[in-house]
Symmetry: C2
Subunit: 675 residues, 2 copies
């Protein structure tokens, strides 16, 4: 016992530590003191045997070692006493064989200065509680510790998803698996796998192998064995997997192998550019439904989840339905006034097939139709109004529109967008219960396996908090504080969001030192999908190796600078501005050396000029002097030229134009005005 | 053809580019112009079918995509023409079924502005030539290119090895595999796998499973299936795998499972501390040789290489042989005067067993004995004298002593140490042919799977160049220029030497920004193995998560600073010094916050004080003023106190003490003296 006492030295701290958990738990009571985490740490699982939880405990121990650098002690020899239990984990009930939307995900974690106890009614709560515990571990002046705390936690929304498009650019299995690791770290629970689109049919069908063989340009698709691996990997982490087979539009890749499914005679080819294409499923033929019955039967056997996503979006105005005589005849025969009604007809029949195979049908906004049964679920890419309309009609819904990662919103923007906000705020309580949550969406027209992590993380974690935490949790500064910590931890899980940025910058820098290029890149972000330059004629094979592909959607450097501007922290503002001004000369040889960087020369000049404007504004402020109107007009015009240009040919946005504009405004304000 | 011409736009450069290849090839003729590497790049293999080369071409294409960010174009449809061949690869002969020491590794690479051609008499040369080609690819003002060049290359030494100890700390399979990737990138060809030692028996024996089951504290060992995977992976990359089974000393892990093999009655336990232990194989009993015959038979079946390493080092003076009556009797009976002669007796019998199983015996210096047959190979951990003695006796030899990575030599020190230097320089030409090369050695008492990459790379690449390139290649500045490029590229192969440094620093920084801690860490290196503080009572389970474990053996920052001091580049020197002085205050909260960093507070103070001394020295130099003798004496005493302390309790060495000492010397020199 003496040894044990020596090992378990307890320390007390004066004040409660700021919470390091993301998403913020529903209920937190912080106490005094800490629980020491040292090499004698032992966690054990009680309750009915559960393979999922045993695996989770192994991962937990491995992560704890990574977080602390402390290897576990060898198990004591037989007959020797175990060290005392520090974290007791008890699951009070079994989970469902297939993870369901209505499962209880709550948990309770009680940490005292002597030990911790994690309990939950269901394994899902234990999985979440273990992540919380890991996030609480931090170094302290007396060693690693977890603060004394009582956490009573449960999610606000039951559906907290991430969609990844693997069609436009191929995402190999390890890339998918590490997204699941990251999702579990922030308690997300739905992986929506966008498996088919015009540019790729990315899953093996054994019944219709032409689909994947002729439906991919690079022969890259997930085998059924890999699909099973992903589903099992996700289940182990408390994540449901919902496949999407987009129809009746976005199906060019199907038609490449099975043109018989299409409305027209073809020929059809796999698409390798972006957009909406006319090829559409022939929904008038019975053979189509016979095929769908077999195909959906094969796929539902692979995906145990109770929901099955059939897409349904963007059946273009220019669909080949418009010019097809037999479709026109069919519409007349069935009294269908337009393509929307034809699609509704299709969806009703499709829903019957999906239901026959034991699933609820899920689809994008366009499938919404009052005649459809109310067990379907609408994923809204159109926004809260569409979502609210669905809920009023009695449909289940989830929100995606504001969480489109390719829109390049900053984390705080997505963070402050509530699934029950705007139009949805006026719903009745009962209607609100139909809105299960939301999904972050990553469309991959301009994303490769090399850049995916940096586009998805850490921004997605901010949305994960929106989906999990109470509505009142809206402190953006505190969110970013925790997001920065989480971002580091994601790298320990194998995510590449920061490392890939550095290595891609180094690739661009060639033999030069990377520092100046990084200084420049740190003030840029990519344009959003709509801002991409169509004159470049992007295809699936276009290299995505330019600066626009390298820079991250959000910059902690610019965030820091913006804060310094807001606080009018003059030395910090001045140091940033001086660095950016000086950088133009330093980075120039690197830009000149690489063909891919020559387009960036004017961007570098703009950054330097903005830095000069900022310095001048700061001079006016420091001298308590009003800038001349002509100067103001000139600078504002210049800054406005930059901020209003949504389609710069370089496809990068200069993030410091905004805060420097604020600095100019500040200089223009009456000198003595409070702010 | 018009398209093809447009795609293959050629560019000409005025002057030859500095070479980016490491190791430097035997013969290089640089020409004018470049070969463009763009998306139409196509490489194809001619010659007899060879699975190893087909796999190499696949890896080559994958690497080229990583280096350029350019994805391959889909294969053309049937009937359509292939794009023109840019890199023609032709292997003129087959390799041996088991890679041998005497195989021809040469290759010839000819690059013109239109195409490139790689030829070799043996697949090994093709593997090396492909690495050279990849290293030549770089971004240019007109796109990626390879400079026009003719390279006629072959290694200076046939044995270019890396030894990794997986006993003291466990190194999982992926860690081993990525070392092989890095070795192949710098044309190393021997992986020496130190599989058994006092602290771990790290390979599965199916005949004697107690060896691994009781010979590991953590149940971590390589299964035979994993061994086969490593051997195949290595062969695919032109690397031989030589296992080491260290005997008759360093065998505590064997005795934990099979005490019957030991000299004494025991009890024996697996060791978990470092040093030399008395337990020794009982070489007097016939049963020992019967065991060895079976065991070596099992192991030689796993390792096809013609060499088999039996260790043989450090049979301590305090071996239990000394106190054993039956050993004393045996020595008397066999007329063996001392333990060395007893070991020689053992080695002779062991050599017969090894030979019976078709292998040459390899061992450390201690096995050298004039009576042993001359087909054995001596690996010298004692240095060039021992190596030369062996060569004079007719033994084959390789050098390791100066390439011990735990000695924390800087790359340039190892780089300038020639296997045929010092005592070996006086050997006759014939004797010199017996020296096949050398091996870098990584002993892992203080290295974990987390820190291995940073201890091994990029330093090992400098030694790889010593082993491969002509003796005349000794330009240290040029070596470092290429080493920096290589270091980046190793990360693309999956090596973690830089990324792990950053993540470990962030772990230490906890919730603080990592910048100030990194500024401090960048001027430190770990003490060498001998400098570790014994009072800490290190064991195999001691966490290696302190700053000494985090910092890298060599600092590009300090290299840059040292160069600035040498060149007396005053602005650069002053900026570094100011940063380091100011950093003390910035880093202090981070040091105070983490128990693991509190020992670093005085180190941070020393760094700041050194920076102040440097600034004062620079002031004297700039003012052309001789410093007072008292000042000089005081600063020199202080600096000397730091540089002469080989065992600081913090176990970190302050690398800037040396160059700042030089700055003080410079200030002390007569102001007008040339230098």
């Amino acid at each position: 016992m003496k040894t044990a006492l020596a090992i378990f030295g307890f320390v007390a701290t004066a004040a409660a530590q700021p919470l390091t958990v993301m998403p913020v738990p529903a209920k937190v009571i912080q106490g005094d003191g800490v629980l020491a985490i040292d090499q004698a740490f032992r966690a054990a699982l009680a309750g009915p045997p559960d393979a999922r939880l045993r695996a989770a405990m192994d991962r937990f121990r491995e992560q704890l070692t990574k977080i602390t650098g402390i290897p576990p002690l060898p198990a004591p020899d037989k007959g020797q006493a175990q060290p005392p239990l520090i974290l007791a984990v008890q699951c009070l009930g079994a989970g469902k064989p297939v993870q369901a939307l209505d499962e209880d995900e709550s948990y309770k974690l009680v940490v005292t200065t002597k030990a911790a106890r994690l309990t939950a009614p269901n394994p899902l709560g234990i999985l979440h509680g273990l992540e919380t515990f890991l996030q609480l571990v931090q170094p302290g002046p007396n060693g690693y510790f977890v603060p004394v705390v009582t956490i009573d936690d449960k999610p606000r929304f039951a559906w907290r998803g991430l969609m990844i498009d693997v069609c436009r650019h191929w995402m190999p299995l390890p890339v998918i698996l590490r997204q699941l690791d990251a999702m579990a770290a922030v308690k997300m629970n739905v992986f929506h796998w966008h498996l088919t689109d015009d540019q790729g049919f990315r899953i093996e069908s054994k019944l219709f192998p032409k689909l994947q063989k002729l439906g991919t340009s690079d022969n890259n698709y997930f085998t059924q064995a890999q699909v099973k691996e992903v589903v099992a990997y996700a289940r182990n982490r408390g994540i449901r997997v919902i496949p999407e087979f987009d129809m009746p539009g976005h199906m060019a890749a199907w038609f490449a192998g099975m043109p018989v499914l299409a409305t027209d005679d073809g020929p059809y080819k796999l698409e390798n550019t972006w957009g909406v294409f006319p090829g559409t499923l022939d929904v008038t033929r019975e053979s189509t439904y016979e095929f769908l019955d077999k195909f959906i039967g094969e796929m539902t056997a692979l995906f145990p989840d109770e929901y099955f996503h059939i897409g349904g979006d963007e059946v273009a105005q220019r669909t080949e339905w418009n010019k097809s005589v037999h479709v026109a005849d069919f519409k007349k025969e069935h009294n269908l006034k337009n393509n929307d009604e034809l699609q509704a007809y299709f969806n009703k029949r499709l829903q019957e097939i999906v239901k026959k195979h034991g699933k609820h049908m899920e689809g994008w906004d366009e499938i919404m139709n009052p005649d459809l049964p109310k067990d379907i679920l609408i994923q809204s890419w159109r926004g809260q109004k569409s979502l609210a309309d669905g809920a009023r009609l009695g449909f289940q819904g989830i929100l995606s529109a504001p969480y489109y990662l390719d829109a390049m919103h900053q984390s705080w923007e997505m963070y402050l967008t509530d699934p029950l906000g705007r139009d949805a705020a006026s719903l009745s309580d009962e209607e609100k219960t139909r809105i299960h949550g939301g999904e972050v969406c990553m469309w991959d027209e301009f994303v490769t396996s090399e850049t995916l992590d940096g586009r998805v993380w850490p921004r997605t974690a901010a949305v994960a908090e929106r989906f999990w935490s109470p509505e009142r949790v809206v402190d953006v500064d505190d969110m970013y504080r925790r997001l920065d910590l989480l971002s580091r931890r994601l790298e320990w899980l194998g995510l590449q969001h920061r490392n890939a940025y550095q290595t891609m910058l180094e690739r661009l820098a060639g033999p030069d030192p990377v520092g100046p290029l990084r200084t420049l890149a740190d003030v840029l972000r990519p344009v959003n999908l709509g801002g991409r330059d169509r004159r470049r004629h992007y295809t699936q094979q276009t290299p995505l190796n330019r600066l626009v592909d390298t820079v991250l959607p959000e910059s902690p450097v610019v965030r820091d600078f913006t804060k310094a501007v807001t606080d009018l922290n003059k030395p910090v503002v001045r140091q940033y501005l001086a660095t950016w001004q000086a950088n133009q000369l330093l980075v120039r040889p690197t830009l000149d050396r690489n063909a891919l960087l020559q387009e960036i020369v004017p961007v570098s000049a703009d950054v330097a000029k903005l830095a000069v404007i900022g310095q001048q504004a700061l001079d006016y402020i420091e001298n308590n002097q009003a800038p001349p109107d002509a100067w103001l007009a000139e600078q504002r015009a210049y800054i406005n030229g930059i901020t209003s240009n949504r389609k710069p040919p370089t496809e990068v946005v200069i993030l410091i134009a905004d805060p420097i504009g604020k600095l100019v405004d500040r200089a223009a304000a009456p000198p003595q005005a409070p702010n």
